[in-house]
Symmetry: C2
Subunit: 636 residues, 2 copies
């Protein structure tokens, strides 16, 4: 893994993931659109396996990476070709955008990070009266290059399994056997999927979020008032997409927010989301009561011009709901939610986000920014799950979804939080109902509160389930959740954990191609192709490292046994002998063909015997007047 170091000392990990190479697949339409994928090479004459690739040019040895310059603008041409945008002079960057005191007086809080050199001075916006959202195009029947790109990308693996029967319980999702650009367009048009891609973020590779597409995951990065800096945030962004983050949220709350974001967006091939209220609060010195619509609006424009692809807007935290949350065990745990609650109380006024929702929508459609309607009242503990405050807000988010759709603006809905397993499904069902199937984007949920340090797991359990039920994107949780800021290793563990949860959800939903990778890996495992087993896994480096801790010898990677049982006891080995033996037997008229038939009978006989036994027990139980303590001789 080569490291590229800029004068700014921003080092990011580049080079292919082991055992695989970057491939570019031309869209079936012949439009010339090239879709990036990762191809895992296998041994023993096995076909390579193509997997969804979020890593962008960083894993492409052909690509030149220059953090100072930013990524190539893949989508620029497509955007310009539509003829509905115009360049204009960007808003002036103000000292407070970077957390400097207004007017620039007082101590320097920039952290010595220079502005991105290649910054866009002439951003794009929709021409007057135009709407540049992908939803708007879709509703006019237009298939954009972005939609084509997504269709090709989502079809991955479907060629392998043509005609194969796929099982699954999709809970009402409508996953197609094959994804056409028309299907993508229809899903966007009806609001069931979104393609978050601000016209000012042309570096992004289009991806879709919707319950009829692969389940996606988001990784959070961002500096805070107490720690981390721009270099490590850019590095974390590249690191998180290397392992599979489909989108990245920059949740910076510290100094230098504006410049940090610029570095991240210019170098990100995945959509970037933010929570604009964080920066707005910084601008008013952290005093929630001092927030105004004007400051917030100005922040939206600032971030829109930089190219943020989706905004978390906590417009569902309405004045009347606040007291409901005050009754809780853990009150309001959403930062944005608590900021707005405090504002509402201090002024005893309805939320300015709710009041100005249509004004926000105007901005969204001017840049094609997607709403991520924030769940400011999500439960922060098992005790608060599915309560009045949470669902009251959800209903309001449903109302706002339809308001946004009237203007063809893309919407997804954020969800909890902390929810015990038996209450997870209700979240999904209500969300689908009141939000008209707009994509659900949940944090976890965590299924218990008692495992700080392991909350990537407590939340991964909930994430796999809610993903199965229909959540379109899962927001990752790292082992540091509730305790501290994730470092590089935490980010990787969080991403891989969520990747496996999302994949488990795809399998359970019956995604036609999801099982291709499981089957390839299991076949490799059974055939002792150790390297293939490592390379097909979500984290080849860790898999090989763990293997080598017990059997370091290079020979062990071709050995037909492993450290668990050793050569003599290897069940896989024995079972291959069994297979050979059985197949030989099958060649004779009697032997196994006969006993296979017998097998079904034997199983059926066993089942009947078992059920009969159970009957007897319960009969005995009833006969004896449901007494269980009987004299010995009466119990068979």
């Amino acid at each position: 893994m080569a490291d590229i170091n800029s004068p700014l000392e921003i080092g990011v990990t580049t080079g292919p993931i082991r055992g695989s190479k970057k491939v570019h697949v031309g869209a079936k339409s012949g439009s010339g659109i090239q879709v990036a994928m990762r191809e895992i090479q296998l041994e023993g004459g096995e076909d390579p396996v193509r997997v969804y690739d979020t890593s962008g040019p960083y894993t492409d040895p052909e690509a030149t990476i220059d953090i100072q310059a930013g990524l190539p603008q893949l989508r620029r041409e497509w955007i310009m070709a539509r003829g509905d945008v115009e360049e204009y002079d960007a808003r002036e960057v103000k000292p407070e955008d970077n957390g400097q005191p207004q007017g620039g007086s007082g101590p320097d809080r920039s952290g010595g990070v220079p502005a991105f050199q290649n910054v866009v001075k002439r951003p794009l916006r929709a021409k007057p009266g135009k709407n540049v959202s992908q939803m708007h195009y879709a509703r006019q029947g237009i298939i954009t290059p972005e939609m084509e790109y997504v269709a090709e990308r989502e079809n991955l693996g479907r060629d392998y399994i043509r005609g194969k029967i796929v099982e699954g319980e999709s809970w009402g999702a409508e996953i197609p056997e094959y994804v056409t650009p028309e299907f993508v367009r229809d899903e966007l048009a009806r609001g069931r999927a979104i393609i978050p891609n601000n016209i000012n973020h042309p570096e992004s590779e289009p991806m879709a979020i919707g319950r009829n597409f692969l389940v996606k995951i988001n990784a959070n990065i961002g500096n805070s008032a107490v720690a981390s800096d721009v270099a490590s945030e850019v590095d974390k962004m590249v690191w998180s997409i290397r392992w599979g983050a489909d989108t990245v949220m920059d949740l910076s709350t510290g100094r230098n927010i504006h410049d940090t974001r610029e570095w991240i967006i210019r170098n990100s091939p995945v959509p970037i989301g933010t929570v604009p209220i964080y920066q707005a609060l910084e601008k008013v010195g952290g005093v929630a009561e001092d927030l105004t619509w004007e400051v917030f609006r100005d922040t939206l424009i600032e971030q829109a011009e930089q190219g943020v692809d989706y905004f978390t807007i906590h417009a569902g935290v309405r004045l009347p709901y606040v007291p409901m949350a005050a009754k809780r065990v853990t009150g309001i745990v959403s930062r944005g939610g608590s900021i707005m609650a405090k504002w509402c109380l201090a002024h005893h006024k309805e939320s300015f986000l709710y009041e100005h929702f249509d004004d926000i929508t105007e901005i969204m459609k001017t840049y094609d920014i997607a709403y991520s309607l924030g769940d400011g009242l999500r439960p922060g503990s098992i005790a608060d799950a599915n309560d009045e405050a949470q669902f009251s807000e959800l209903y309001t988010l449903g109302e706002l979804t339809h308001r946004a759709w009237k203007d063809d603006v893309q919407v997804m809905i954020e969800g909890p939080g902390h929810v015990p397993m038996h209450k997870i499904k209700e979240n999904m069902t209500k969300q689908l109902e009141v939000c008209g199937e707009a994509p659900f984007y949940t944090l976890g949920p965590l299924v218990t509160d008692i495992a700080p340090g392991y909350d990537h797991i407590t939340s991964g359990i909930g994430a796999a389930q809610i993903g199965w039920y229909g959540t379109a994107m899962l927001c990752y949780v790292t082992p540091k959740e509730h305790l501290g800021l994730p470092d590089r290793d935490d980010v990787k563990v969080g991403v891989v954990t969520y990747k496996l949860a999302a994949h488990a959800a795809d399998l359970a939903k019956g995604h036609p191609a999801a099982q291709v990778r499981d089957d390839a890996l299991s076949k490799a495992r059974f055939e002792f192709r150790w390297r293939d087993q490592f390379n097909l896994s979500l984290d080849p480096d860790t898999a090989e490292e763990f293997h080598d801790q017990t059997l370091p010898a290079e020979g062990a990677k071709t050995a037909h046994f492993c450290s668990m049982c050793g050569p003599k006891f290897c069940s896989m080995k024995i079972s291959q002998e069994v297979r050979d033996f059985a197949s030989k037997q099958n060649q004779s008229p009697e032997g196994f063909i006969a006993s296979e038939k017998l097998g079904a009978d034997t199983a059926e006989a066993s089942k009947q015997a078992a059920l009969k036994g159970m009957e007897e027990m319960s009969k005995l139980y009833k006969e004896k007047g449901e007494q269980l303590y009987l004299p010995e001789d009466e119990v068979g």
Copy 2:
């Protein structure tokens, strides 16, 4: 944490888990039985929280730990008092018991580990014609001290929540609000729960496995042909119960199996399970075909006298089922299953385990050993889940369950394996049906194959779900699964992961007291009682370590903020201000009481608006002949 080192250099971790102390609670019956529990001390005048304690004397500062001597014999008196057992001369230990070539010739494979000094020379067995199983006593209406111990232990926390309404979806389980000794007896009598405790393992603290009790977890240890030794296995046993393992399986397959097991059992306060076929195979030089009923029977007696509490017996792997498995992607992945399959094929005979099942049952009732009917044909990949081979075996296990119950022998059933989420429930439903609600004991299941290195998580996701559906005990999986042998750290990660999965299942089932700990931890979190948050967690050491990585200062542990948001942005802090503000408001007739009422109305209005919006969309969709691409002016 003090370390006690024996001449043999067996060091184990002792001393209390941070923030908590060992307490002994007298059984309500007044019988004088003392039940060990762990009490977590809290700050700020909060009541201490009692939690289930599997760690035995090792966390009790009062106890003297001497690995050479073994643990005190808690149950010896209870066993003798029943007057139905007799002492006799133990079977002579043979060289092959420790993997020495028959007759002791050839190279020494003992690994230089001396036999346990305090070895039992006069084990116990049932007097002729007697049956000493807990199920047998239960069916005669006898409440044993073991049952009383279990009742008290399982009641933990129920006193906190008397009268509180507990929600949950138990899928037909019958969890009582309060556990009486009579309830324990009835569950044992009908086979719905077991208390695995061989009369030759009097050191064990009684525990129950059944769907109406707390979900339990098992940790696997054991040396292998390629690695590990007795000292590290004893250490792993003590380490795993420290973090919550309810039972431990010794899966040793290497040299010195007999002596390793003696060290483990004499020092274990939790039930020990084994797979006797492993040792039997060692005795015949690893050649499956050479196994005989006589060698196997002799091994059962050997292990019965040592005090093994439950035996995994793969009696469901019948000759006719073998070809079904041969068709699979990963064949037979169970070691015991593949050994028996090979034997059946080689001799083209029905399994001697199946043929001699009643003879095995005779041994079980003579020592009160519980059956753990092995799933030798469990699926080893997503592709093989819920197939003919797996369910054929399950039906046979159901048949055998009822056969064992006729002799009042305790039974649990082992389950898969690798199963995608949508196929998990069927496993539980079928098992309950054909095995008459005998406790289900599953490995995972893993919900995807593509994450080696993270299989504690892929399996933890499946384990939480199947535990919720009714599985009584979850067999842990470590990060090393499929790759190597778990070390001490892997064992801890596996145990904590399964502990949180089991707890999530208890919460979802509606266990009356499960939420007590979640609520206490969340309250501590909300009130910034950092130490309480650490101490209430499953792994206080890791929780504090992660916190300190970002904010090492001692002061940060009392700070009213954390590293995620810093002081200014802390949502918990803001939300406490919100709470104070709201409560003030509530004192005036208008203000929040009014707006709370308004809240419900607002929420209802939002919901109606949302649903109406959705209707309009789908109406529009239909009107336009399900075309989604409409001229701009037609879309609102």
